[in-house]
């Protein structure tokens, strides 16, 4: 073969090699690009999990504040039957039925525990403890697990309609007798389930879900919204009367601390998904649970509840004004919702903490998947 021929062939091969090389480099760059994007997404995921976990701190504090007072009325099942004493209701002094509620984690009527025989409460109106079983939530030593997926429709849901009775304001409608008048033509609010309105309202009306409307309204639709499942949860342990250990989680373990607890939740735990054996929540697959646990963010906090609330008339410079207006002869504290002094009246919007206050929040370090108390070391109960 001549030298020229060989060169021609080499030249043709060179182009092919060059192009192939470029393609290979392009492919490698593409792979590197995709890997980088993937790692960037992973880095962002950590931030999202941190944010979710902190939202759980907020949710848990709100839960603690509310659980000292609320949540001891009729269950959803009980609410389907006529109200009666003993099923989430108590009898008032006049014999009337009252929804049962707690009086705070430390009851002002029994702070020294003498009138409750050493029980810690919360107590209801009749000084009966709302704790159904000693040692379980909400008793001291009890634990509650709260997976925070979103229900398809929550219990007692109402429609998101803003104004059921808008005032006619279009001048073209000035001839309408309703023009400019605030008329209560429609109930406000209205349930999210159909109840017959604007025709005859009926509890027994069968909704598209095939349930009586009242039952459908009370129970809601508990199925999780898929995009919200497995993202966040919180867990609260009542350490003492008013001090709690909060675990904030961003991940899919539902708040179980380990696989052993999945299989056999402690009797102190309330709200464990799938109890008495939650393995089915994880496909009966320990490896799956362990993978969820490894990718989860968990933060621990110690918080304390305080019964401090703010009365609606808590603004002490107002008597000063009144004192001046009366030539220094009288003092006065404005009543709630007083309207004679525009801009000075107090209403419920001025009461930001009707259920108490969180007096401190303390982040706890973690060691081996457990919170660490700065004095006593790793905590086994949380």
């Amino acid at each position: 073969m001549s030298l020229a021929c060989a060169r021609a062939r080499r030249r043709s091969g060179t182009i092919l090699i060059i192009v192939a090389g470029f393609c290979a480099l392009l492919a490698s760059l593409t792979i590197a690009f995709m890997l980088k994007i993937r790692s960037g997404a992973d880095a962002t995921e950590v931030v999202a999990q941190q944010t979710q976990a902190r939202l759980m701190l907020h949710a848990a504090c709100c839960y603690i504040l509310e659980a000292g007072r609320l949540g001891y009325g009729p269950s959803r099942a009980q609410a389907l039957a006529p109200a009666s004493a003993g099923v989430g209701m108590t009898s008032g002094q006049g014999g009337e039925l009252q929804v049962r509620e707690g009086y705070g984690w430390i009851d002002v009527r029994s702070a020294d525990l003498t009138s409750s025989q050493g029980d810690h409460g919360p107590f209801d109106q009749l000084m009966n403890s709302v704790v159904a079983q000693k040692g379980t939530w909400p008793d001291v030593g009890g634990i509650v697990i709260c997976p925070m997926y979103r229900w398809t429709r929550p219990p007692y849901a109402i429609k998101a309609t803003v104004a059921y009775n808008p005032i006619l304001s279009d001048p073209a409608q000035s001839g309408d007798p309703r023009y400019g008048r605030p008329l209560l033509l429609n109930p406000d609010p209205q349930p999210a389930v159909a109840n017959g309105w604007p025709g005859t309202v009926s509890d027994a009306l069968i909704t598209p879900a095939g349930l009586p409307s009242w039952s459908d309204f009370v129970n809601g639709v508990p199925q999780p919204v898929p995009s919200s499942q497995g993202t966040a949860w919180f867990r609260v342990y009542r350490k003492s009367q008013a001090t709690f250990i909060i675990t904030c989680g961003a991940g899919g373990t539902f708040g179980y601390r380990d696989w052993g607890e999945v299989l056999t939740p402690s009797p102190a735990i309330t709200g464990a998904p799938g109890a008495p054996n939650g393995a089915a929540q994880f496909n009966n697959d320990r490896g799956f649970f362990d993978a969820l646990l490894a990718s989860e963010v968990r933060l621990w906090y110690e918080v304390r509840w305080s019964g401090g609330v703010r009365p609606l008339d808590f603004r002490f410079e107002e008597p000063k004004w009144w004192w001046q207006l009366q030539n220094g002869m009288a003092y006065r504290t404005y009543p709630v919702n007083a309207s004679q002094y525009p801009g000075w009246c107090r209403s419920n919007k001025f009461n930001p903490n009707p259920l108490g206050t969180i007096s401190f929040i303390q982040r706890l370090d973690a060691q081996g998947g457990q919170p660490v108390d700065p004095v006593t070391g790793p905590m086994t109960l949380w």
Binding site: F22, L29, H58, A111, Q241, P311, Y331, S359
Partner: protein
């Protein structure tokens, strides 16, 4: 030449390219190579951009994580492993030139000052902290009520526990002659050896003592006996055990002592965080005339009053310059007890803001160019150059002042100058001034800027980065405003290559000051 390489015309096959074929081949080949190389270059650029964007995102994520860590661990305020230089907020001082009228040594602490000797010693041996004196030790001159009582049952309730009752007539505490009774006597804050206690004694109505108007005068000396034991000593209260009756009834003055002690020990922000929500920030002490009129301080500047025995407005905002002590005008704090009624955070924070100073890195204590750069990065704006002579690290003296001051926010809600006989031009407020002088006062937006800079951390995460690298800085500010403790975090990113700047501002919920102190064992052993 072998036959197999010859053509039909007997010539060599490889000689069959024409010029046109060659030109087309070269052209196509070049186009392919150029296209491939251009694609390669574009892909490489895209990857570079993606790499940079990814790095930027990772930096932002790091900044957010750093901000959230700071929210929980407070290291810019007090670094447990940082030694004394990074724990300046544990210091305290005896105000120079001031002596208590009753002979007690005054001691003003800072937000991380240890309450008790055990807490201070625990820090020195347990967590790498340095030794700092206890500011609220039992038996000391600052031992109001035997120190802080960390008991959830004492503080979680207010209605049932007499210890937490605030004794006084709220509706009557302004310019009152106390005609409905002198209830605050039941809650006088005092030291163990302050007995009997002189109550009231107003001489001049202009200071709010209206007793003379009704022919009054000093109420008299009231014997209280020895200081009652602290609540935990009477019943040996253990966690989850019943509280004996004496726990509730045997320690009058306990609440006022707690408020008094907190104010002195850790300043106003800390005091308001430790007290129960919506607590009334006032206490009563024995009578003593104000400094400047022949009197002196008793156990804190807040005790300067002309009508003691009635609750003192703890956060008094108006006091004349003459009441200050020489060269330290920023200690012009409180007086006018009945003239200005007791207030809660509702009032106090309606036109003011109480902040904490992150002494390890903040946007104002700029002593070096590097710190200035950090502050600039953290805030996203040019650092506000401190005036001549200012901007250096604050002394303990100044820190004590600023943790008993506030940022006054101008608003129409509180027309202070028009109230009563008070003329705002005659008074100096303990607000965020330049720190060493009273005049000129900093007001309006300038004061707000100063307040913001002093109370915001400035933390550059990449101080030694190459010049063309992006920068990431984190700032966290903590303040009390409108009845709420706020933690404001800002993450700022800047890319010198693209000029891109990103700022993320958010509030975060996390460890409170009291929680941060508990982390560091500064409160002693808690009782639950």
């Amino acid at each position: 030449m072998p036959d197999q390489v010859r053509g039909a015309r007997g010539g060599a096959l490889c000689a069959g390219y024409t010029l046109i074929e060659l030109m087309i081949a070269i052209g196509l080949g070049s186009a392919i190579v150029l296209t491939a190389s251009a694609s390669m270059r574009l892909a490489a650029q895209a990857v570079t951009i993606a790499e940079r964007m990814s790095r930027n995102n990772e930096l932002l994520a790091s900044g957010i994580s750093q901000a959230l860590d700071e929210v929980d661990y407070w290291k810019e305020y007090d670094d447990p492993q940082g030694g004394a230089g990074m724990q300046r907020l544990r210091a305290s001082e005896a105000p120079p030139g001031i002596t208590s009228a009753t002979g007690h040594a005054l001691l003003f602490g800072l937000p991380f000052s240890p309450f008790s000797p055990s807490a201070a010693n625990g820090q020195s041996s347990g967590s790498g902290g340095a030794n700092f004196p206890a500011v609220w030790a039992a038996g000391s001159d600052q031992g109001f009520g035997y120190g802080w009582q960390d008991d959830e049952r004492l503080w979680a309730i207010s209605a049932d526990n007499e210890l937490t009752w605030w004794t006084g007539n709220i509706a009557e505490t302004q310019e009152s002659d106390v005609r409905f009774g002198h209830y605050s006597i039941f809650g006088v804050s005092r030291m163990p050896n302050e007995n009997p206690v002189l109550i009231d004694g107003g001489k001049w109505g202009g200071l709010g003592a209206w007793q003379p108007r009704n022919g009054g005068g000093q109420y008299g000396m009231v014997p209280f006996g020895a200081e009652p034991p602290p609540p935990t000593a009477t019943g040996g209260v253990a966690p989850l055990q019943a509280i004996p009756g004496g726990y509730r009834h045997g320690t009058p003055g306990w609440l006022y002592n707690q408020i008094h002690g907190l104010s002195n020990a850790i300043g106003w922000y800390g005091m308001m965080e430790y007290l129960p929500a919506c607590a009334i920030d006032c206490y009563a002490t024995q009578y003593h005339q104000e400094p400047g009129n022949g009197g002196g301080w008793i156990s804190s500047p807040a005790d300067s009053t002309d009508s003691a025995g009635r609750p003192i407005y703890l956060i008094q905002t108006f006091s004349t310059v003459s009441w200050g002590y020489p060269n330290r005008p920023y200690y012009n704090l409180q007086a006018f007890s009945p003239n200005w009624c007791p207030h809660s955070m509702d009032f106090l924070t309606s036109y003011t803001a109480f902040g904490l100073l992150p002494v390890n890195h903040n946007c104002y204590e700029l002593t070096t160019a590097a710190q200035s750069t950090q502050a600039t990065s953290a805030r996203g704006i040019a650092a506000n150059p401190p005036p001549a002579g200012q901007g250096t690290a604050l002394t303990t003296d100044q820190l004590v002042f600023f943790h008993r001051s506030y940022g006054r926010l101008n608003c129409d809600d509180m027309p202070v100058g028009a109230w009563g006989t008070n003329n705002s031009a005659s008074f100096v407020e303990p607000q965020y001034t330049q720190g060493s002088t009273v005049s000129p006062m900093v007001t309006g937006p300038a004061e707000m800027t100063l307040f913001s800079e002093r109370t915001s951390t400035a933390d550059d995460l990449l101080p030694l980065r190459p010049a063309n690298w992006p920068d990431i800085a984190v700032s966290v500010g903590r303040y009390l405003r409108l009845c709420r403790f706020s933690t404001q975090a800002t993450v700022r990113f800047s890319d010198p290559v693209s000029g891109e700047q990103v700022g993320l501002a958010f509030t975060a919920m996390g460890t409170t000051l009291r929680g941060a102190r508990r982390m560091r064992l500064l409160d002693g052993n808690p009782v639950q």
